[in-house]
Symmetry: C2
Subunit: 129 residues, 2 copies
Amino acid sequence: MIPFSIDLKPGSPFCDQLAYAVKKAIVSGQLQTGDRLPSVRVLAQELKINPNTVQKAISRLTAEGLLEIQPGIGCSIANRPRKAEAKACAVLLHQEMERLVVEARRLNLSKEEVEKALTEHWNRISGQN
Amino acid sequence: MIPFSIDLKPGSPFCDQLAYAVKKAIVSGQLQTGDRLPSVRVLAQELKINPNTVQKAISRLTAEGLLEIQPGIGCSIANRPRKAEAKACAVLLHQEMERLVVEARRLNLSKEEVEKALTEHWNRISGQN
DNA sequence: TATGGTGTATTATATGTCATAGTACACTAA
DNA sequence: TTAGTGTACTATGACATATAATACACCATA
């Protein structure tokens, strides 16, 4: 069994969906520091996709510092990122936030409605910690 | 001159960037209901991209109900969407919100920091209304 | 030591998206 | 009629994506 939930759907690249599913599982506490991830070949078999596609997602998460590789052993969940890295990445968050605000205002939503949605998702994602 | 601000950069599709720039200009009040948009050919020339690429962005915004087309005349900014359409689109907003929350928690940001960022962007985008 | 399981790299192929180029058509204002 | 609208269509090249099939270095275990 795969230690996180994922349901691959066409529309966006499989490697993106896989990387996001793992990241979400880590952030929500479903996967914890030190936990082992199934091997590239096992994941590929379970998800019925190509091993290369899995490897692409893994290498991306490794580059982000979310996964740690032990050559010949496998890969496991790394520690939470240091503040230094986080600061550099926060720029991306602001881009996402602007996109979200633009979309919300296009839908004539109030700021309160958006804040409520933020709280809902925040609690849901953080609930398992 | 183009009645909205845009700076095309490689990395994401031009038609996406153009559609977003127009949407942002509408939402922020830079473009108002009834305002005329430059023609497909003019936009293509100014932005130094292909008319087909511009047309792709326009047709997407038209499908979203943000632009109105008068055949033979040109296209202009439409009225704000009705609640009915908005409700159907709100699902997408929740997907974006979840992605944002996941990213924020991956960066070890606090909920207060994210709420602060939301307020900042909200005021900036809404400032011109 | 030999075997099998790790991650990783490489090459090749097929498919789809994106941007471009060129052409053509229906429509409308002047 | 003429020129300017949006729109549709085909074709091409560049690029990303997913797949397939190997091959290699590494490590644990029998």
